[in-house]
């Protein structure tokens, strides 16, 4: 082979470990740094979760960090009037002045003994977030650390918790599966470990793995599926209970996991009760109760009418799935359950994994193994009497109210009700918070019925927003505290599971901060602590000084040292061999901090299948088809309010879920906002391949490839209708239309798309920013959005048992000519 003469070599640079928080996949990455510039992103191939595989949107981070629209230094509001139509008139100030202002406001709360009126809003975060998110409010004296969790997926966790005691996302052993049902999820686009699934699907198909997709929208995952079941929005429960009916009546349940009738014959006869005493159950609880209370009449023929998927297909998928069991899985995303009545769908869909013995099994749905990490210092010793007293006040999100049980981990008010905070502020119930800090969050964009947030944030006396970009929530702030980008400008770490492993990545500061920006999780609390100490309250600084370097014992002297020390403390059982042994850790070990930082990735040992069989953390230690765990939780919440469980369900919009049925996964018709007469289209909210959680639309690559979301358009936004529906309305592809719901409206472009069920309308989330920058907004200065934000017309409502905000299967709209 003839080699070319004197070829110039590729640029000498360094691949620096990092990680991506652009979605909840939390992939391990490396950043290519050339002469101090970050120019490329790739996967950290050392991860056993995703190997060397990337996703499309990771690359967009380069355009996020190098964005001239970023906030470049602290800014303060000079227009005291707040509102959507007010120009805040932000002017640049120094960090010193900014932190003086913030410290004065916090000290004012302390002087007036109303520290509970402090609130900290958290969106995305890194592993050390406890310092800022959890401990700082406590030391100031507030119970109000409000996360975004319930606008993410709490209802998705509800089903797995109230069947098998696991309040978290599951992992899926796709490498060993034989049949995969993707239910309300498009793993090639969103949910978790997208980079892993983008790679895994090809191999699965090559190996003859069959895939079925349950989703009202057609997706790339649906294209890779032999069967697409376009369930009507909100009717997932009908489909799931019918599939369970088929699996039991056809005798296809797992004898190994569930057990069998003592006489060996199948007494699950459609339309008839079975006798509990005749069934010897092994690792599950209540299968006969479930059949008798719910499933015996849930035939595929009944479900066809309700959910819009024909009976033959329901039967075929249920039989094929169960026939390949136990190495099969139902991969459940938020689509089936982040609905006003989604809790029981969540249970019904996940319960299919239990019926066929796929829960915690090879090729099935598994729970993952976490790293054993160190503990950050606890705030308790730094909470004075005021802090101790006031931090016991009610949180401002109304969790635990009769109509907001938010039963995370079985506790009444155990979880957050993020989107309710706007109403709580407007109602001043339980009280009106006064001073807030928010970071890595944009509730005025990401929460349905965003207009309530505009009003609520206008009512907050003082708000400091820590973000990289001017966002919708920033518009109502008094202070803008520009943030470092987590992938490049600060130390970051996060853990995630996938491919039956858990990884934990870490990355140092790969480049100098592009602007005068600070890490909200370490530098901001440090500066606030300094300012509060100057004002005579040193508890926060005393607490932060506890974050000593585990190697030298040195207390931090500034915010960056605090950042490093916090990560070192947290990960010490990974990089310090003695701490590794002491913690009883598993997986990779390192002999020094530098060695861990240089590799940037820790991997767990492989998951141990079946280990939890018979040891599930439920009331019965079994997989509960009849949920004693939910019974305890619901009755506990009812007792707290002096009512019955039925009353609780009535208050939570589950009026048709009564008596014993409330403790089994069951069908209940969806609660839809808007009548079919006035609002003829059931609305389908979709996720974008390009969205870094609603933050990437100021990247031109987002806009250039926006049409990778099937049926969508570049540099624009659209709502999609079936061509027949558009024709009936006299609407043409490409024209502007008004989308109207009972609580809001928005203008966007109409696109026709044959993949949609007539009577549904679909729109991808991610456009419609009037803030963020010149690319995201059509007119950034004039606050004119590019298209519409789904949350401008979606009604704020909740899956109340979990505290989740409803995003799917709960809304109707009409489409009008503009």
């Amino acid at each position: 082979v003839e080699m070319p003469q004197e070829v110039q070599g590729l640029a000498a640079g360094e691949w620096v470990p990092s990680g991506c928080l652009g979605c909840t996949s939390w992939c391990a990455k490396e950043v290519f740094v050339v002469d101090g510039r970050a120019i490329k992103i790739r996967a950290n191939a050392g991860s056993k979760v995703h190997g060397g595989n990337d996703c499309p949107r990771a690359h967009l981070a380069i355009q996020q960090v190098y964005d001239p629209d970023r906030i470049k230094q602290p800014m303060k509001r000079t227009n005291p009037r707040k509102g959507l139509d007010e120009d805040p008139q932000f002017v640049p100030i120094s960090w010193d002045e900014a932190m003086d202002m913030l410290a004065d406001k916090v000290m004012e709360l302390r002087e007036n003994d109303e520290t509970h009126k402090f609130v900290l809003f958290r969106g995305r975060y890194t592993n050390i977030n406890d310092l800022f998110y959890s401990s700082l409010p406590k030391i100031i004296g507030s119970p109000n650390n409000i996360s975004h969790s319930s606008i993410c997926a709490e209802a998705e966790k509800f089903g797995p918790y109230y069947t098998q005691g696991y309040w978290n996302y599951r992992d899926y052993d796709v490498a060993n599966t034989r049949y995969m049902i993707c239910w309300g999820v498009d793993p090639l686009c969103s949910n978790r470990q997208v980079s892993h699934y983008l790679n895994a699907f090809g191999g699965m198909l090559k190996n003859g793995v069959r895939i079925a997709t349950v989703d009202p929208k057609y997706s790339n995952t649906a294209a890779k599926s032999e069967v697409w079941m376009p369930v009507k929005p909100g009717q997932d429960g009908a489909l799931a209970t019918a599939m369970a009916h088929v699996i039991l009546s056809e005798g296809l349940w797992s004898r190994e996991f569930v057990g069998d009738f003592t006489d060996g014959s199948n007494h699950f006869i459609p339309g008839q009760d079975a006798n509990e005493a005749d069934f010897e159950e092994i690792y599950s609880h209540g299968v006969v109760k479930w059949w008798n209370l719910e499933l015996k009449d849930r035939t595929p023929e009944w479900a066809e009418e309700v959910c819009g998927v024909d009976a033959d297909t329901i039967r075929k998928v249920a039989v094929d799935f169960a026939s390949e069991a136990p190495h099969v899985m139902v991969f459940m995303g938020g689509g089936s359950n982040m609905q006003v009545r989604g809790a029981y769908n969540s249970m019904a869909v996940h319960a299919l994994n239990g019926l066929v013995g796929a829960a915690e099994n090879k090729g099935g749905t598994i729970t993952g193994r976490s790293a054993r990490l160190g503990s950050l210092p606890k705030p308790d010793d730094y909470m004075d009497e005021m802090a101790t007293t006031n931090s016991k006040q009610k949180k401002i999100d109304q969790r635990g109210y009769l109509e907001f049980p938010a039963l995370k981990d079985g506790k009444s008010g155990g979880g957050v009700v993020t989107n309710r905070v706007a109403d709580a502020i407007l109602m001043e119930d339980p009280y009106l918070p006064k001073v807030g800090i928010g970071y890595f969050c944009n509730f005025n964009y990401s929460c349905p019925e965003a207009s309530r947030w505009h009003e609520a944030m206008s009512k907050l006396e003082f708000y400091a927003h820590c973000v990289t970009h001017y966002s919708e929530m920033s518009h109502f702030a008094d202070l803008l505290l520009p943030s470092t980008h987590h992938m490049f400008e600060q130390m970051s770490s996060a853990a995630q599971k996938g491919n039956s492993f858990t990884h934990l990545w870490i990355g140092g500061r790969a480049i100098d901060p592009v602007y005068d920006v600070k890490n909200p999780e370490s530098e901001v609390p440090w500066m606030l602590a300094e300012k509060m100490a100057e004002r005579g309250f040193s508890n926060l600084m005393d607490f932060l000084k506890e974050f000593k370097d585990p190697e030298t014992g040195q207390a931090p002297g500034n915010g960056i040292e605090l950042e490093t020390n916090a990560f070192k403390i947290l990960t010490e059982p990974i990089w310090n061999p003695d701490a590794y042994v002491e913690a009883g850790n598993h997986g990779d070990s390192f002999d020094a901090w530098e060695a861990f930082l240089a590799k940037g990735i820790w991997n767990s040992d492989e998951y141990e299948f079946k280990k939890l069989w018979g040891k599930m953390p439920t009331a019965t230690e079994k997989f509960e088809f009849y949920s004693e765990t939910l019974k305890e939780a619901l009755e506990g919440h009812a007792e707290k309010h002096g009512v019955t469980a039925d009353d609780v369900l009535e208050a939570c919009k589950y009026g048709e879920s009564k008596g014993e049925r409330a403790f089994v996964p069951h069908y209940t018709p969806p609660f839809m906002h808007g009548s079919e007469q006035e609002y003829p289209f059931a609305f389908i909210d979709c996720k974008s391949h390009m969205a870094r959680e609603g933050r990437s639309s100021n990247c031109s690559w987002f806009q250039e490839f926006k049409d990778v979301d099937a049926g969508d358009m570049k540099w624009g936004d659209c709502i999609k209708l079936n061509p027949a529906d558009a024709a009936a309305l006299g609407l043409e592809d490409g024209e502007l239309v008004r989308v109207v719901s009972p609580t809001g409206e928005a203008v966007t472009t109409l696109k026709t798309w044959s993949a949609l069920r007539p009577g549904t309308a679909s729109k991808t989330y991610g456009q419609g920013h009037w803030a963020m920058g010149h690319v995201a907004a059509e007119d950034f200065v004039g606050r004119k959005s590019r298209g519409a934000n789904n949350n401008d017309f979606m009604t704020a409502d909740y899956e109340r048992l979990s505290g989740s905000t409803a995003f799917y299967g709960s809304f109707r709209v009409r489409i009008e000519k503009v």
């Binding site: 640029a11 510039r37 355009q63 983008l198 057609y218 649906a222 294209a223 099937a710």
Partner: protein
């Protein structure tokens, strides 16, 4: 001398566009120009739907209409010995004959009188690039300039070069590396033992617009939608 080509396995392809974004990143490609792109199509009537996503790029044709059409002597659009259809930005006169001749629409033109990356040429954007030490854009990749203009000028065409600057350095084209699905296989079509040759001999393959007679060197195997 090798003869380079690519196979795209549509069964592995997940339709995510990582290839196309990575291409922009590697080759400093401005907005509105797509060296790597896709054709998508939704077929059928609800509920019998299929969706296809076909990744596209320069086919590096054996019979290249773009080269035929180029009026410059020596040609600004020309074939390299390794099969790559290459472009000489210096001698390109911006006549767009190649763009018009290409049946695949994969050659793009930088408008006369409009600076590429125009929004990066002034104000806060230009200040940012200067501050971090980039060239026109802050995330400018200097590798592209090894064999070609690092950023092409106005009144010039541009297109995929199979990342020839990486290939001569022993690396695969960046789209191949960035594809999370391992759907792109790049290699020597003349080497019967190469992965690409093996794939082509063991699978039915198609090319785009075979009737155009261009003899493309980008091949497709399998189907994107398993229901097709």
């Amino acid at each position: 001398m090798a003869k380079y080509g690519m196979v795209i396995d549509l069964q592995k392809c997940a339709g995510c566009a990582a290839c196309s974004i990575a291409c922009k990143n590697e080759n400093n490609v401005p907005d509105g120009i797509f060296w790597s792109h896709y054709i998508t199509e939704t077929r059928g009537e609800f509920p019998k739907i299929t969706y296809t996503y076909i990744s596209t790029l320069c086919n590096h044709c054996d019979v290249a209409p773009c080269v035929d059409a180029c009026p410059v002597d020596p040609k600004a659009m020309y074939k390299q010995d390794d099969g790559i259809t290459m472009h000489d930005e210096d001698s390109c006169i911006g006549c767009r004959a190649c763009e018009n001749a290409c049946p695949y629409g994969v050659i793009y033109y930088n408008e006369r009188g409009v600076a590429p990356f125009e929004n990066w040429q002034s104000g806060e954007a230009a200040a940012l690039t200067e501050k971090v030490g980039g060239t026109v854009i802050p995330y400018y990749n200097p590798d592209r300039a090894i064999t070609y203009a690092g950023i092409r000028r106005e009144n010039k065409v541009e297109k995929c070069t199979f990342c020839d600057h990486r290939v001569i350095n022993g690396e695969s084209p960046y789209c191949v590396v960035a594809c999370p699905a391992d759907a792109r296989i790049f290699g020597d079509l003349d080497d019967p033992n190469s992965e690409i040759s093996q794939l082509l001999s063991s699978n039915d393959s198609t090319v785009l617009l075979p009737e155009a007679g261009t003899q493309p060197n980008v091949y497709y195997i399998h189907r994107f939608d398993v229901k097709e």
